[in-house]
Symmetry: C2
Subunit: 690 residues, 2 copies
């Protein structure tokens, strides 16, 4: 699968007992620390406020957050969250990245291929059920036993619901500390309403990404449809053009993708030296290949736009994470926390007997994980992940193979409910660019041979006497998987159709499957299962020692963060919290990516230069929060979160409230641009309607 | 400057007191441990043997080793050491990488642009003089004071010699433990005699690089000339077609480039997380750009051949180093060694008073180095290093600026003798490919902005309102520095000519110089100088505790390693020491890079398949040793070192005799190929002459 959209953003030293910095925490809606917030800020939201915000918050299947901002399904998110859709809807004749997109009437709103929206409607506890299913199970079978129990719980929780409208998912919180069933209302027809030109949606481009001050209209609008009509969404966030001031309380409701704050220090070092390293190296080479490819022609540049953005953004976010973990002073935040918990467990005989030494157990398992790492990465985790078509082939082969087995024998991630989602993804209508596919497939195959060597038995089976370049060229030229009807026929035909297929990518995926599946099973049995058991014991120790006033690691599920509008001071330089529209024109030097959009230059005299454009706040967020509504104490939407500053990237591991800031585009600037630059009168009227 | 040719190769746990593995050590010729070797193998070379080998060993300016193998200046080295020359001599019409190169008569031998050869003729001690020059000097001025003293010692040591024929250089051994003056006889006209086709010189390509078993004719021949005639070299290594057997003693005489075995553990961690990381990321993106560029046309592929090889080889060597340092079990070799030395210093009151705690001092300095690292890297160390033309511009500007100053105020590396070498390099005749130059210059500028941010004052000064892409395109299109006459005129014109130049690369280098020079000075004053003082104290502690039976870190100067022919066993798999010519044809599957050369296929029936092709030995070598003669106990050359196995890459930090192996191509295979495949009768006759 394509690497996930990432816009990390966060902030100061995570402390286990209770957050060291006032604004730390990505809280679940069923455990919001209202008393703690009230003690700090003299205000906390009541249950009605929380309920309304929860029901207005939207998760997008592209890995972003969003919110309903009208009673007819209008959704606010980021430009960079709709940019994949913008690319999919564009063609050589019409490039919406360049022109922007505005549906002047309802019928002009265009379906985004594969995009789905979801709202979290209920949370119920299932900790006891999941723990019971793995109690007494030997370490190597834990991952599988848990997967089976979870699939059954999900089935049970949604059994009375219309499967087209609702979806149930068990969420692992606190790394095995709690399991909860999250029920989602899903919207499968999501259409594009508005996206600005990339020049203003992503002004400053990669160089300014994760930096501040910023001047980006990184916003876009979508609308949820059902049966060809906009859905009714009576619960939504009211729009305002007011912008909060320094010190004003603000909230972010969204879906932080993942954090590693509860992992052991040695797990973080492993993360730095293996997965992050492996990702950064392949992303760097991929980026280099795409840069030169883009130079070939205008159409090459256009067609590579989306994937290139994802590659650059992922690189920078992951790079920032690795830099944090390479800094001895950053790890020095984590080490005493871990030492404290260990010491408290050791000092309590009963606890010590119950918990044991899960840190030492994890260290031993990390050595095993290291042994398997490169095989797991290149035979399974990355399997064609730098292309779109080959992961389709893998999924088609797996649907056929796993679907033919009883649940208990399937790979995790292939429950019946999972398979419905995979099928839906396989039937999305996104355009495929074969030259870019060939680059991506060749990249994976050539790196697999490089890291595992030409003499590795699995590489010999994968490549035979062919070269990565030859397989990629012939495979992409010959495949018909870019035709949705072909994919549909293969899904319907099941295992027989897959086994009989002569499509070169299906043939390749079939050839790769035994080794890929074997390393997946081995990693789950020998590493992931046993590590999760040890992590459960650490979670139990943490609850026992510090109580429950802690928040779980991010899991791309709905969370609420509170904070205030604030700039920061670093190296003696004071960075103010708020930029304005006038600053955009000042920063535009004229060479890419600092080029002002022609539409803005044309409207310049009518725009109020003093209107706040981008704003920094102390909220604790991370990649996946992109598009989250920034909300004031009245529950009104005052902005859309789109980034974190450069100091935020270590937030994956610890929140540093001194420096880490969330960056949003204001509703004030969005309204001004919609009115004056884009003349989007229909949209403005809908936003302002009460 | 272009990144250095690297072919790391080494071997088992370095132990400070005396090598843990019998064959560990890169010994200087003036301190060869004959008694120790004799105790192990019942044989050690006598002084006559050592003298003859020292005078036959050749260092090449491309970063390789070599040896004289006839009395008329014939030099044996690797194909990959002459491949830059092969590329320089090739053109769109005649690609010697494809066809190979054979001078059938003396007049067909062609000069390699910029290639120089050197022989180490004498070693004299200068430790007292250098230490006196820095005694009592404050830390921030140490690097400069030492540079001045060294320049004066070098001038003094060579003052009676013909500067065209001799060069003197002070070498820092044991990281400040000793300083020695090395006098070299230099040969400035080096010509290509023979190079095989890349298909056999680099069979298996990047995938097989640093792997074994191997089947490479990675060999080439050069000849040293003076006044248009081959030089007389009465001292040379006799040629033999005999190949030593398992357990036979073998030596390697060559120039290991650099090792970090005497650095502190925290310096190694810094190395892993900063310089190695930075190199790997830029090499990965560069590689990606070059892969796509090469796909453009046959000529693009040909013209990028040399740089692409250097990028891939450097990546793999550095990657292997980083992997070693990321493996906790590898660092576990180093940590107890350091703890032991520290404990012994602490336990001895007198020593403790004298040595202090240089490890803690270095830790504090590493924090400073980390602060300055990215600025130093992108403003100075990498400055245009991914191009050829921009470093010329930097050197031209520096020659003018530094040359106008007294020695004590110059940057290190700009003594009068250094400047003569820089001028010679600037006047080499290598071809320049402007499209590749543009990729390289753009890469540096864009990464500089990425890592330092668009808001960094030095980046603002470097780029102005332009983009990296714009500056690179206009700069490379407009520059005349690819014309040697233009460079020569700028050298002759001195500072006035440089200041008046409107060449866009000179203009850019002038604009960059103040910030580049400032960070260079700052790094030397605040980090390098103080670290070198602390390292001197560690070196002193080591001599005091363990005596002098230790070898210094590699410094790309002449060393002798002893060992035996041996394979190894890893993960239960036994790898034999020796491959043969028949195996080459068996491994050739037909798709690149496993394609047999047509010349070999044509000669196949005449070749003896049982002749040893490549051979693995326990010698302790590293990048820079490429091309070194493999020598038997009689002092005959039996092979040319061209690689290390995959386990050897951590040899930069520690030698692991269980697994680390040096890989050579045998003189037996070279002779067979020259006779049967290439019909190089003139060359074979010269090699066999007594």
């Amino acid at each position: 699968m394509p690497l996930k959209l990432l816009k990390a953003a966060t902030a100061a030293a995570f402390v286990i007992s209770s957050p060291a910095f006032a604004d730390e925490g990505m809280w679940t809606f069923d455990a919001f620390p209202a008393a703690q917030m009230k003690a700090t800020y003299g205000f906390a939201p009541d249950q009605a406020w929380l309920n309304r915000v929860q029901q207005s918050a939207v998760r997008l299947s592209v890995g972003c957050s969003a919110s309903f901002v009208s009673n007819t399904g209008l959704i606010l998110t980021n430009w960079h969250c709709v940019s994949l859709c913008v690319g999919d809807l564009s063609s050589a004749d019409k490039d919406y990245n360049k022109s922007g997109f505005l549906a002047t009437t309802l019928v002009d709103e265009k379906a985004c291929p594969g995009m789905q929206a979801e709202v979290l409607v209920s949370i119920t506890d299932a900790t006891a059920e999941v723990k019971a299913a793995t109690a007494g199970v030997e370490a190597s079978k834990v991952a599988q036993a848990r997967a089976v129990a979870i699939a059954q719980l999900e089935e049970e929780a949604c059994k009375d619901d219309n499967k087209e409208l609702f979806r149930c998912e068990v969420i692992d919180l606190y790394r095995g500390g709690q399991y909860k069933v999250y029920k989602y209302r899903t919207y499968k027809d999501v259409r594009l309403v508005f996206a600005p030109e990339k020049e203003v949606g992503f002004f400053g481009g990669d160089p300014d990404n994760f930096n501040f001050p910023r001047y980006n209209l990184d916003s876009g609008f979508l609308r949820a449809y059902e049966n060809g009509k906009p859905v009714k969404t009576p619960t939504y966030l009211p729009w305002t053009q007011e912008t909060p001031k320094d010190g004003d309380v603000v909230f972010v409701a969204g879906n932080p993708g993942s954090t590693e704050r509860l992992r052991t220090v040695n797990q973080l070092k492993f993360e730095r030296d293996f997965p992050l390293q492996s990702d950064l190296l392949i992303l760097s080479e991929w980026r280099g290949r795409l840069i030169e490819y883009r130079n070939k022609s205008v159409e090459a540049k256009r067609s590579a736009e989306s994937v290139f953005y994802i590659v650059e953004n992922s690189f920078k976010a992951l790079y920032g994470q690795q830099r944090a973990l390479a800094d001895p002073s950053f790890l020095a935040i984590k080490e005493p926390e871990e030492a404290d918990l260990k010491a408290k467990v050791r000092a309590d005989a009963k606890l010590r007997a119950e918990i044991g030494d899960p840190w030492a157990d994890i260290d031993r398992l990390l050595a095993k994980q290291q042994d398997l790492f490169w095989q797991y990465q290149y035979l399974e985790s990355y399997s064609g992940a730098t292309s779109s078509l080959y992961p389709m082939a893998v999924n088609l082969v797996r649907l056929a193979n796993e679907g033919a087995k009883p649940l208990a024998e399937r790979l995790p991630g292939y429950s019946d409910a999972d398979m419905v989602q995979i099928q839906e993804q396989l039937l999305a209508d996104a355009p495929v660019y074969k030259e870019i596919e060939q680059i991506g497939l060749e990249l994976w195959l050539s790196k697999a041979r490089e890291y595992l060597t030409a003499d590795h038995p699995a590489i010999k089976r994968l490549l035979g006497s062919e070269s990565p370049e030859g397989i990629a060229a012939r495979g992409i030229a010959g495949t018909k998987l870019d035709d949705k009807a072909v994919r549909e026929a293969l899904i319907k035909g099941g295992k027989a159709a897959i086994d009989a297929s002569t499509d070169p990518l299906i043939v390749l995926a079939r050839r790769a499957e035994a080794d890929a599946r074997a390393i997946n099973v081995k990693m789950n049995q020998e590493v992931n299962g046993p590590i999760s058991q040890a992590a459960e014991r650490i979670a139990a120790a943490r609850f026992a020692v510090y109580g429950s006033n802690v928040y779980p690691d991010a899991t791309f599920t709905l969370r609420l963060s509170y904070g205030v509008v604030d700039g920061w001071t670093y190296g003696g330089v004071k960075i103010p919290s708020t930029t304005n529209i006038g600053g955009y024109f000042e920063r535009a030097s004229g060479e890419f990516p600092f080029v002002a959009a022609p539409s803005w230059l044309a409207a310049k005299s009518s725009l109020d230069p003093s209107i706040p454009f981008n704003i920094s706040t102390t909220n604790d967020v991370i990649g996946g929060n992109s598009g989250s509504p920034l909300i004031d104490r009245q529950g009104r939407v005052v902005g859309a979160v789109f980034d974190g500053n450069i100091h935020s990237l270590g937030g994956n591991f610890a929140y540093d409230g001194r420096y880490n800031r969330t960056v949003s585009v204001t509703t004030a600037a969005i309204t001004e641009a919609l009115s004056k630059v884009y003349k989007a009168d229909r949209l403005v009227a809908e936003l302002k309607a009460k």
